[in-house]
């Protein structure tokens, strides 16, 4: 696991927040918005709360030692904690006028056993490099994505649209939030990229794929290089990336601790 975050070339402060907890197989990335400094407050609350609460919840699950969690149980666990984080950010937004209207996107992944459970809200993304092909795993909750889905505009037109950065879901802007949660099978050597739109707005998928493929043996270098590419292209927004590589050998089915610890390299 490796990560890097940078305010970019235009913004004075970084409203992105991220957290990597390799021993739990947990990666969390949030891109805050609203107000002067409120964006980083929203993303900060969201990431630190989710990190701390999931650490506790997962440690309890591991101590009970009843083997792997069912996929549905993992999804429920994530959903519950996301809803709680949403309430906390929403309450904070109402408590102080300077925080009013703040919110954040969220993309997070929990790697356990041979599965990855992904939750996302808004336009922060998860990509997967498997072999030589890069796939976007999450679908943005954004106006542009909806227009593409409805055939109103094409992908090509979306690249020149003036309606970028309009998300249709965000955490902390109302008392309700609907995270999209899905589970995927992971295989050895997969490399996962969690990123804020500061990366994918500035750098094309093919450039991302090429950099991840070329530098997959050194994740920290790959993370730094992705951020450099976004900055070299103009760096108009904060840029955050988390890279996670899955170990080649499938984990042995003995001992919860070994199973958890053996997943991560770097």
């Amino acid at each position: 696991m490796a990560s890097h975050t940078h305010p970019g070339q235009v913004r004075s402060h970084n409203e992105d927040s991220l957290s990597c907890i390799p021993e739990l197989g947990l990666a969390i990335l949030a891109d805050g918005m609203g107000g002067y400094n409120a964006g980083e407050v929203a993303s900060g609350i969201c990431v630190s709360l989710l990190g701390a609460e999931l650490r506790q919840a997962l440690t309890e699950v591991n101590l009970r030692g009843k083997g792997p969690l069912a996929p549905s149980a993992t999804e429920t666990l994530l959903r519950d904690h996301i809803l709680r984080a949403n309430s906390s950010v929403f309450r904070a937004a109402q408590s102080a006028p300077e925080y009013a209207g703040m919110g954040t996107t969220l993309v997070m992944g929990l790697f356990r056993d041979d599965r990855l459970t992904v939750a996302h809200i808004g336009d922060s993304r998860l990509y997967r490099l498997r072999g030589e092909s890069l796939e976007q795993i999450t679908r943005d909750h954004s106006l542009l994505q909806e227009q593409i889905d409805n055939g109103i505009i094409t992908r090509e037109q979306a690249k020149v649209s003036q309606n970028k950065n309009l998300v249709t879901r965000a955490l902390g802007v109302s008392d309700l939030v609907e995270p999209e949660i899905r589970s995927y099978e992971i295989i050895g050597d997969d490399v996962y990229l969690f990123c804020s739109d500061g990366l994918n707005d500035m750098v094309g998928d093919e450039e991302i794929r090429f950099a991840m493929m070329t530098l997959r043996s050194n994740l920290q270098l790959a993370a730094n290089h992705l951020v450099d590419m976004a900055n070299d292209a103009g760096g108009r927004d904060n840029i955050s990336v988390i890279l996670v590589k899955v170990r080649r050998e499938p984990p042995s089915r003995h001992g919860v601790a070994t199973r958890l610890l053996s997943w991560f390299r770097n």
Partner: protein
């Protein structure tokens, strides 16, 4: 500031109209937003649909058609400066937002819509990347192994054609004399599993960085650390026991 339309005939501006409505209609009948009383124009000739900061023009099956920048269209995604032609009339689309690097729309904003209206959809299938399948990052060839990266797709923007192109010439070993032009954003050098370094091409120039292996690359006799190292013309790089020279071709 909303986008606007400028209607003109033979170079004379007749009317300016801000695109404040979702649908702005153009035609010969008086119920149109842009009413053009000319027989070459159909009753309901075309419509401009505006969604926040984006607009489309759509021909409404008119008799004589609608042109954008001289080409007939059925539906067209308007870009700042596009000229829509209907008969002898020209309608210029002006969207000053376009190309602005600052401004409120650069910031991510939340579009409030009732949550109930949104249902979950299956995860997105990635845009096809399989077409570019080619070599792995580090090709298993004798030292100095050089990756053969896939042809960059048109979207690859980082390596610009400005400035001199860096080239590496092998000085020692079986491949001595071989030259490699550093035209890609990333070029890996070395033996996979033993020692690999990458040369990145950036607007400021070329940088070499250690990727894997227990020993680090040596430049002009000095061992590098984990940080990227800026390459100067005629620097000598030592990697996996092979010496090579970096130079800039103008």
């Amino acid at each position: 500031m909303p986008a606007k339309l400028i209607l003109s005939l033979d170079g004379l501006v007749l009317k300016e109209l801000a695109l404040s409505k979702e649908r702005t209609t153009i035609g010969r009948k008086p119920d149109n937003d842009i009413h053009i009383d000319n027989l070459a124009v159909s009753g309901h000739h075309a419509v401009i649909v505006t969604i926040l900061n984006d607009s489309f023009v759509e021909d409404l099956h008119s008799t004589n058609g609608t042109l954008v920048n001289g080409r007939p269209i059925e539906k067209h995604f308007l870009q700042n400066g596009d000229v829509v032609e209907i008969g002898k009339y020209r309608i210029k689309y002006v969207n000053e937002q376009a190309g602005a690097t600052s401004g409120i729309y650069e910031k991510t904003m939340i579009l409030k819509q009732p949550a109930a209206a949104r249902s979950q959809r299956p995860a997105a299938e990635a845009p096809s990347t399989e077409g570019a399948a080619a070599a792995a990052s580090v090709a298993p060839v004798p030292a100095p192994a050089v990756a053969a990266p896939p042809e960059p797709l048109p979207k690859v923007a980082a390596p610009t054609d400005e400035g001199p192109t860096g080239t590496v010439q092998v000085l020692t070993g079986p491949a001595a004399g071989r030259e490699l032009a550093l035209t890609k954003a990333l070029t890996t050098l070395g033996k996979p599993g033993v020692q690999v370094a990458v040369i990145t091409r950036r607007p400021q120039g070329y940088f070499i960085t250690h990727v894997e292996g227990s020993s680090f690359p040596v430049v002009n006799g000095k061992i590098l650390d984990a940080q990227p190292h800026f390459l100067m013309d005629h620097d000598v790089v030592e990697l996996a026991g092979v010496k090579m020279e970096f130079f800039l071709k103008r």
